[in-house]
């Protein structure tokens, strides 16, 4: 479109920006993570992850994030299938209604779940009206999973919806003409075609769920600590940046694995290859 020199000039601002605000900050974290307070190289802080409290928090974070991701995936597939098969006109309004809750502050809506789930909360008051025994809902791992699903479901729905709506109707009709029933069409046609969307949804849900400290603080009652809570405390209460950074470096390992997964299934790349 224009000369190479112009292109390079246009790229410069972003290169400087990325160097200063993406790469150098990450180097800072790694640097703090592998040094001790005297500034000497030390892997002691990284090794802390194997200590009792930290290891349990990491395990709980991974398990809850995995469960939430699977729940989001299972909820989103039928939802997106229903949404894409509707008439075009209705789809816009219905999908807007799904995006609308995103404009409610997520801290406040998570707190509203407290009001619904707590000991004297809305669900338990309904249970009492029906003279059923109270349920222990708040401060359980289940409540944290519910909060994660509530907060991150849109990140699963949007990429899945986009990749589902890109499927050509005639492909589905062809599958039916060839004798596939609804289930076979889903497993052998729809599922393979939507894998890029599902993968990007999975990474967009798993990482924030793994690293959150807000949802666990609100719905876990401060007793169920996730790795995010521990890192946050190292910075706001303990003021031990080296430990906090060392634990962040361990989170970065998960993030890098996730990035590798997304690049392997990059939808943009596939489109270009096809073009």
């Amino acid at each position: 479109m224009f000369k190479r020199g112009v292109r390079n000039i246009l790229l410069t601002p972003f290169l400087i920006w990325a160097g200063l605000f993406i790469f150098i900050p990450l180097i800072f974290i790694v640097w703090y993570g592998i040094t001790d307070e005297a500034g000497n190289f030390s892997l002691l802080n990284m090794g802390l992850i194997f200590e009792h409290g930290f290891w349990d928090a990491l395990k709980l974070s991974v398990v809850l994030a995995l469960i939430s991701t699977v729940v989001c995936l299972l909820l989103a597939y039928p939802l997106c299938l229903i949404l894409t098969e509707r008439e075009r006109d209705n789809t816009t309004i219905i999908s807007l209604l799904f995006i609308l809750p995103l404009w409610m502050n997520s801290l406040l809506s998570t707190m509203a779940w407290q009001t619904i789930l707590e000991g004297n909360g809305i669900i338990n008051q309904l249970m009492r009206l029906m003279s059923l025994p109270d349920l222990q809902l708040i401060n359980t791992p289940g409540a944290i999973v519910l909060g994660m699903v509530y907060n991150f479901l849109p990140y699963m729905v949007l990429p899945l919806f986009i990749s589902l709506s890109k499927i050509d109707r005639s492909v589905l009709e062809a599958a039916q003409d060839l004798g596939a029933n609804a289930w076979q069409t889903f497993v052998r046609v729809i599922l393979p075609l939507t894998i890029p969307g599902a993968v990007s949804g999975i990474t967009m849900v798993f990482i924030p769920a793994l690293t959150t400290f807000v949802i666990s603080a609100l719905l876990g009652g401060g007793k169920l600590l996730l790795i995010g809570n521990i890192i946050e405390q190292e910075f706001t209460f303990q003021y031990d940046w080296h430990v906090g950074c060392a634990l962040s470096v361990i989170l970065m390992i998960f993030i890098v694995l996730n990035m590798l997964l997304t690049t392997a299934f990059d939808p943009l790349k596939e489109e270009e290859d096809a073009a």
């Binding site: 224009f2 601002p13 605000f21 800072f28 974290i29 509530y150 910075f235 989170l251």
Partner: protein, 261 residues
């Protein structure tokens, strides 16, 4: 089967809107403690307009949102235009760099930027929050603009050049209008992300400067002021009306198109 689908949609809707309903109800609750219903009041809406600290937080949220989205849109647009000219391999490399702030965990981004700002000797406050928000907004803008730019037909631009337009003129009068929907979408997405961000703001803010989300978080332990529910209710209905008008407009436009064709 049709009923099952409708019931499924209804359940998901209930799940998504239950907490929002609770918040709206709380904004009219006479008791300042959540979960205790003592009657209907409009007090919180009146108090909302006299609360200067809340007004400060709101104006910070809005100005940081608009500024960071605006700057991110300009930077993102320039980068997209340049990236279109790269070879496929280099473009893929660049795209994965631009994606880092989205794929990275907010807590890691927040901490790393805090360390950078303190290392640079920048006082944590309004400017540090603004910079941090631009950092995570740029990739959203690029994700919105890049697909449309890649799909754009080059021949219009080249025709403009052949007809004697300068490259800058050809870009602003041919390419830019084509990109307007995605630029607008990118700006809007960036603003939304900025306004709703808590974690990165939490780490990059200094004492004394608050956005709405950090103000809410500070109140969570002592009990959120009900003015906050009132404000969120107003914001929610404002967006709802905006969205409905948009949807109605689209329908009408479609009908006109159908009549015309």
């Amino acid at each position: 089967m049709k009923y099952i689908k409708q019931i499924y949609l209804a359940i998901i809707f209930l799940f998504l809107y239950a907490p929002i309903g609770v918040l709206i109800a709380q904004s009219f609750n006479a008791s300042r403690y959540r979960g205790h219903w003592t009657g209907v009041t409009l007090d919180w809406y009146v108090k909302l307009f006299n609360d200067t600290r809340l007004a400060d937080a709101l104006s910070n949220t809005l100005s940081i949102g608009l500024l960071s989205a605006g700057i991110a849109t300009i930077l993102g647009l320039i980068t997209c235009v340049a990236m279109k000219e790269l070879s496929r391999k280099w473009r893929a490399t660049f795209m994965s760099v631009t994606n880092i702030p989205i794929l990275n965990a907010d807590i890691v981004t927040g901490i790393s930027l805090m360390l950078l700002f303190m290392g640079m000797g920048l006082k944590l406050g309004y400017v540090s929050i603004l910079l941090a928000h631009i950092v995570f907004n740029v990739p959203y803008v690029i994700l919105c603009i890049m697909p449309q730019l890649m799909a754009l037909d080059k021949s219009f631009y080249e025709a403009a050049l052949d007809l004697g337009a300068s490259p800058f003129k050809a870009f602003t009068s041919v390419v830019l209008p084509e990109l307007r929907p995605s630029i607008f979408a990118g700006f809007l997405l960036a603003f939304t992300m900025s306004a709703d961000d808590f974690i990165i703001t939490h780490f990059t803010k200094g004492a004394g400067v608050d956005t709405l989300t950090t103000a809410i978080y500070a109140q969570l332990k002592i009990g959120v002021h009900p003015e906050m529910y009132a404000l969120s209710t107003l914001v929610f209905f404002f967006v709802l009306i905006f969205v409905l008008l948009f949807a109605i407009n689209r329908r009408k436009l479609k009908k006109y198109e159908e009549v015309l064709t």
